[in-house]
């Protein structure tokens, strides 16, 4: 006697209960505090804020904890919360030239006004596992010095003064700010929407695409003109007050790639730009983003579109890891109904094949 399977509701509840238990792990081990995550796993928090498109360290830390360290799941949690937030407007463009710089390097000039500042970086560390860190290690207090009062102009602005690099397109102050979370994307997309898409894009996806451009799939000869990380002020134009009101400051990483450009019939040869921007300290992300931004400008610059990284529809339609993971993982959902249709079709085709070729049909069962 067969009884149709029921009881999914209880199964779901029990699965969630088990998940909560597994998330907590061994209860003899102290529970993680959100401050531990935001202080000691800060680059993970930065990534969740960037790809989750929400600057809130505490919520990002909560998401990482809730997601058991699964970054895409954490990003998803943040995005789903963000989607419900009211939109008051857009801030004034942040001035990264006025950034309080914690790290700033250029690979195109040996010295630059304001200097090269290494800051906290993995670069030049030897990747040897450090047993000291395993339990209770108190690092030395960092060296301090007098903060320089020198301005730190952006390297691309220095190049721009000589006209060696294309001018950065000036924003039209009255033009509405594109937002692909509020307006459905259509192609071809303007650069503001492309950059928004890339800023939210999966770091690994952009890394691979940027890497592919370096390996010859749509090569664009990049130099890391400048990477800077630090704090910038965010201001909001208050219509009632009639002036921009400071909202606070956020940490950003900005990467400006400087790329070769052969010139065209109407344009003299000059350097071109690729741009990357992310919350917190996210260098791999911003560098990859800048490479892909430059690749996606192929159409605008009259370059032949031959590689995946230059293909706007391909890149923008597949860059979002929340969309991608949802659709890949939806294969876990039942597909009995369509599978049954396919079974029916396949059986029919096999029967006809057997009849046409005069072979006995394959038995389905082992017996």
């Amino acid at each position: 006697m067969y009884v149709a399977v029921k009881g999914g509701e209880r199964a779901i509840e029990n699965a969630h209960r088990l998940l909560a238990h597994e998330r907590r792990g061994d209860r003899d081990v102290p529970e993680l505090a959100l401050s531990q995550i935001s202080e000691q796993l800060s680059l993970g928090v930065d990534r969740v804020m960037t790809e989750g498109s929400l600057y809130d360290r505490e919520l990002a830390a909560l998401a990482i904890k809730q997601a058991r360290g699964d970054m895409i799941e954490a990003i998803f949690l943040v995005r789903a919360f963000r989607a419900t937030l009211p939109r008051f407007g857009a801030t004034e463009p942040v001035d990264t030239g006025a950034m309080r710089v914690r790290r700033r390097i250029s690979s195109t000039f040996k010295d630059i006004p304001g200097g090269q500042i290494l800051g906290p970086t993995f670069d030049y560390t030897h990747r040897l596992l450090d047993p000291q860190l395993a339990d209770g290690f108190s690092p030395e207090v960092p060296e301090t010095g007098e903060a320089s009062t020198a301005a730190t102009p952006r390297v691309t602005d220095i190049l721009g003064r000589d006209g060696l690099i294309e001018p950065s397109p000036a924003a039209d102050a009255d033009a509405p700010v594109g937002d692909l979370t509020r307006e459905p994307l259509s192609f071809p997309a303007d650069r503001d929407l492309r950059l928004q898409n890339l800023a939210r894009a999966d770091e690994g996806f952009l890394l691979a695409l940027g890497y592919s451009s370096q390996r010859g799939y749509g090569r664009n000869h990049p130099f890391a003109g400048e990477i800077r990380y630090g704090e910038v002020e965010v201001e909001f134009m208050a219509e009632d007050a009639g002036f921009a009101v400071p909202l606070g400051s956020i940490e950003l990483t900005e990467c400006q790639m400087v790329n070769q450009f052969k010139g065209s019939a109407t344009e003299a040869p000059c350097f071109t730009r690729g741009y990357g921007l992310a919350f917190g300290q996210s260098e791999r992300k911003t560098m990859s983003m800048a490479l892909v931004d430059r690749s996606l400008r192929a159409r605008e610059l009259g370059e032949e579109v031959i590689a995946p990284g230059q293909d706007e529809e391909f890149v923008m339609s597949h860059s979002d890891n929340v969309q991608a993971t949802g659709f890949v993982e939806h294969l876990k959902l039942p597909h009995y109904v369509d599978f049954q249709s396919e079974l029916g079709l396949l059986r029919k085709l096999r029967k006809e094949f057997a009849e046409a070729n005069d072979v006995p049909p394959m038995r389905e069962a082992a017996e």
């Binding site: 009884v3 999914g8 071809p188 939806h330 959902l333």
Partner: protein
């Protein structure tokens, strides 16, 4: 911490208004895919976010909601979505097709005929019927605009040339209101005729792909075919083992590892109603008991 507070049926009213505008446009142009600013929902893309957004936008406090997946009210995702609206909107839910005012579905159209004043909301993974013939949205939108569907007919013709049949068994393309070729979502082609001249409003939501489309009540929906190769429905040729129905779409259940199979209605409400009315199949069981598994 910024503690979240949520609106009736989860979405804020501004978002609902935006979705309703897209729905109205979709109804005005049957079968046309209307882009909309799909939101991130608290369930993953590909798990019904399009359908959930459409349902959230049309749901009122008086509505009675039914959610099915694979025809069944008891599959995990159907339960999850029904609970979501039970929690966020507090609406009445039902498993009865006849009693529901809004039915959200994945992969099936109920067996019981739908009536006016009902809305059937489909969850759609890939709304573009031409997608697997042409991956570019810019191209497919142009093809729809020009009514240029030759590529689809060539595909169906090639199937016939190769297999002797049209080798599409689900998500079988249809033409709506003699204008737009439309993807009915991955329902088995068995269900296609139910869409034609249906008295209920049919809405389709694709969250990840950000598209909404619609079939208004009493609209012609024709499955693509050729004069000499007319469209045919497929259903496994057996009565339901539980209720004996000879006209319903069947799930194939593997009952042992020796090739044993049985076939039962995929529409659980239809099957249970028939059993309650005294119909029996070869394997009829006692009234269904809650059995936890998985």
């Amino acid at each position: 911490m910024n503690a979240p507070a949520y609106n009736f049926a989860y979405l804020d009213e501004q978002t609902k208004r935006m979705i309703r505008r897209a729905i109205l446009k979709a109804i005005a142009i049957p079968g046309y895919q209307v882009p909309f600013a799909s939101r991130e929902m608290p369930m993953p893309y590909g798990w019904g976010t399009g359908g959930v957004q459409v349902t959230a936008a049309i749901l009122g406090p008086e509505d009675v909601l039914k959610v099915i997946d694979q025809g069944s009210d008891d599959t995990t995702n159907a339960i999850s979505i029904r609970k979501f609206f039970g929690k966020t909107a507090g609406v009445a839910t039902t498993t009865s097709t006849a009693d529901a005012t809004v039915i959200q579905t994945r992969h099936r159209i109920p067996e019981a005929p739908l009536h006016a004043d009902q809305v059937l909301v489909y969850q759609v993974p890939i709304p573009e019927p031409l997608r697997f013939l042409e991956p570019r949205e810019t191209e497919t939108r142009r093809m729809h605009a020009l009514g240029e569907y030759g590529l689809m007919h060539v595909k169906l013709y090639e199937d016939i040339a190769r297999f002797g049949h049209i080798a599409t068994s689900y998500a079988y393309p249809v033409k709506v209101n003699a204008r737009y070729v439309m993807d009915p979502s991955p329902t088995p082609k068995f269900d296609n005729p139910k869409m034609d001249n249906c008295p209920a409003l049919q809405l389709f939501g694709a969250g990840r792909e950000k598209r909404i489309y619609a079939i208004p009540p009493h609209t012609s929906v024709v499955s693509l075919d050729f004069e000499d190769h007319p469209f045919t429905r497929y259903r496994f040729d057996a009565p339901c083992a539980l209720c004996g129905a000879g006209d319903s779409y069947l799930d194939e259940i593997v009952i042992d590892d020796k090739g044993g199979r049985m076939f039962v209605c995929s529409d659980t409400d239809y099957c249970e109603s028939r059993q309650a009315a005294g119909h029996h199949g070869s394997e009829s069981a006692a009234p269904h008991k809650e059995r936890a598994h998985g």
